[in-house]
């Protein structure tokens, strides 16, 4: 046997084996994830089935990148209709990036019915914190919202507030579309749905990073004033606001706000809009704040936060608007559709989850299916 034959017969398979071994070492390092679902004994939802087979944990330096891909089926074991559910997904409670949440709004689950919940999250977990060989991911129930706006759950992630706002937006939008159907007929509803789909397609989706540190670069930092959109019936009025701007980064936002309603305000959220050098406007972030403002009282809202945009983005101006208010009595205020349209916020801010769901039904199943859906409740 010639030496060339020896090389070709033994060397190539050996090299191929080495290649697969080394190059596949990264994927071979991925491990299965050990799931743990923690529901209270009196939980209004029960687990019917779950599938975690697609979840993987891959070592990345000193931590696991836990790629959570799971499908759960939950059953409504209460006596009321469920409008929303929020689950907390935890790889590690204190590590940044170790905690996530999955919320399913716009539900209409009757007692005894089951509904699916899909979990797709990247989480971080330090290596060595698990007593078992496989990294553990825990799922907890953070809250359930019922059709009478009552709530169950520990509400550690403020899911009651979020789900209540989504439900109020859903009622607002369903009422609008139903009214449109009654007054203008199916054609008017169809026209509005097409407009909604077009706005959703044109919605700007720039990459925005929420950073915990600060970048130290050579560009000078300067302070930029906020311009505020006048929302006519908003119970809280922003008076002034500033942020520190450095090229494509904005940090340390501060606002002066005044409660112009007759009820004490407990919480408010401000939408932060950025205009870049090309004139494009997009919703950069939302600024929530616990304020506790008495009627007529002013206060300051500040966040120790930094937003980083694409390096191609140069911040030219910023504006803000009040997107939601929670009163001390537990009631909420959200802008009306008319106001959102007048201020052109419907081209910048994403529509409500309910509007997205209804427009999806229209696009996939047609106008008749949408009409049937609106008649349900």
């Amino acid at each position: 046997m010639s030496s060339r034959a020896i090389y070709s017969r033994a060397g190539l398979p050996a090299a191929a084996l080495l290649a697969f071994g080394f190059l596949g070492a990264g994927s071979l390092g991925a491990q299965a994830v050990s799931p743990k679902i923690n529901l209270p004994k009196d939980s209004p939802v029960a687990v019917v089935s779950m599938d975690w087979s697609q979840s993987r944990a891959t070592p990345r330096g000193g931590a696991y990148l836990v790629d959570v891909h799971a499908s759960l089926s939950l059953r409504n074991s209460s006596s009321k209709r469920i409008r929303g559910v929020t689950l907390a997904v935890l790889a590690q409670e204190v590590t940044p990036g170790g905690k996530g949440a999955v919320s399913v709004p716009s539900l209409n689950v009757a007692p005894g019915d089951a509904f699916p919940v899909r979990i797709d999250l990247p989480l971080l977990r330090p290596i060595g914190t698990s007593q078992s060989s496989a990294p553990t991911v825990e799922v907890r129930l953070d809250g359930v919202l019922f059709d009478d706006l009552s709530f169950y759950g520990p509400d550690n992630l403020h899911s009651q507030r979020n789900m209540t706002v989504w439900e109020l937006e859903a009622r607002r939008d369903r009422k609008y579309f139903k009214n449109l159907l009654e007054t203008g007929g199916p054609k008017a509803l169809q026209h509005e749905m097409l407009d909604s789909l077009a706005r959703q397609a044109d919605l700007p989706r720039p990459g925005v990073q929420m950073v915990r540190g600060r970048s130290t670069n050579t560009d000078p930092e300067h302070q930029l004033q906020f311009a505020f959109l006048a929302v006519p019936d908003a119970p809280v009025e922003p008076a002034s606001g500033t942020a520190q701007i450095t090229a494509n980064e904005a940090s340390q936002p501060r606002f002066e706000v005044r409660n112009r309603s007759k009820r004490p305000v407990q919480f408010l959220e401000i939408g932060w809009i950025v205009r870049d050098q090309r004139g494009n406007q997009f919703l950069a972030a939302s600024l929530p704040a616990e304020v506790n403002l008495a009627p007529g009282q002013s206060g300051e809202v500040a966040q120790d936060a930094a937003l980083r945009f694409s390096p191609r983005t140069s911040i030219q101006s910023m504006s803000g608007f009040v997107s939601q208010v929670q009163f001390a009595d537990g009631s909420y205020w959200i802008p009306s559709r008319k106001v959102l349209e007048q201020l052109h916020l419907n081209t910048i801010v994403a529509p409500s989850p309910e509007e997205q769901r209804l427009s999806h039904i229209y696009s996939k199943k047609g106008l008749d299916a949408l009409v049937e859906e609106l008649k349900k409740f």
């Binding site: 999955v102 929420m210 915990r212 540190g213 989850p353």
Partner: protein, 233 residues
């Protein structure tokens, strides 16, 4: 080995040009076979006679010009060989007297010029393994550390200038592909399953959210990742 040795083996054995193992085998055979021993002895005597004859230069032969001519011919042959097969050939250095002694036998015994070629095969094998190691190392190196390393190298190349991002942990980014956990400017993972988000948002308290609409049921799912502490008690 056959019953009698070949002429070429005996001649090479007589001149001491066989390897150790073959010499040993031939020695073993000639110790037992008188015919082969006699032929080998004949070759040895021929070599001796030729050596003696070669020591006496023929009259009228100018060895210097003869040597120069031979050298020139060899160089022409090597150059021609380069055109056909560009490998370096190091001709075995032979004693001119040995060359002359073998001149007679060259008609019967093919003159083998064994060349020492550059060991391409082992070098190629080592290079392939090295490339494999480098590729495996690069692909399995954490991407965050890889980009951080390249950033540091760039800064060094530029004399320490350029932006330096000093982050105190992972960042969450909301983009059209979903939510992404990043560290030192590079991606750790994306929340993308089979769907793309229909909307993304960032909360200044330290979280990012992405909305997905199920293609079959139209159900909306809002997924959030937190990078700030303190929300969960």
């Amino acid at each position: 080995m056959s019953s009698h040795l070949r002429e070429t083996d005996l001649a090479l054995f007589a001149s001491g040009d066989l390897g150790l193992w073959r010499s040993f085998r031939i020695r073993l055979h000639t110790a037992k076979c008188e015919s082969c021993q006699a032929r080998g002895e004949a070759f040895r005597l021929d070599r001796e006679r030729l050596r003696h004859q070669a020591e006496e230069m023929p009259a009228g032969v100018d060895w210097n010009s003869l040597a120069a001519e031979m050298t020139a011919n060899i160089r022409v042959g090597l150059a021609a060989g380069e055109c056909v097969d560009p490998r370096k050939r190091d001709a075995r250095k032979r004693d001119p007297r040995k060359k002359a002694a073998h001149a007679k036998d060259s008609q019967k015994i093919p003159l083998k010029i064994k060349v020492n070629s550059f060991p391409w095969r082992p070098v190629a094998g080592i290079a392939a393994v090295a490339i494999l190691f480098v590729a495996a190392f690069w692909l399995n190196f954490p991407s965050s550390d890889r980009l951080a390393l390249s950033r540091v190298m760039r800064n060094l190349a530029h004399g320490g200038g350029g932006p330096i991002f000093q982050e105190t942990g992972p960042v969450v980014e909301a983009s059209s592909t979903g939510m992404e956990l990043r560290e030192n400017g590079s991606s750790l993972g994306v929340s993308q399953g089979a769907l793309r988000p229909v909307a993304v948002s960032v909360n200044a308290q330290g979280s990012a959210s992405a909305r997905y609409v199920d293609a079959d049921t139209g159900q909306v799912t809002i997924t959030s990742v937190y990078v700030q502490q303190g929300d969960l008690q």
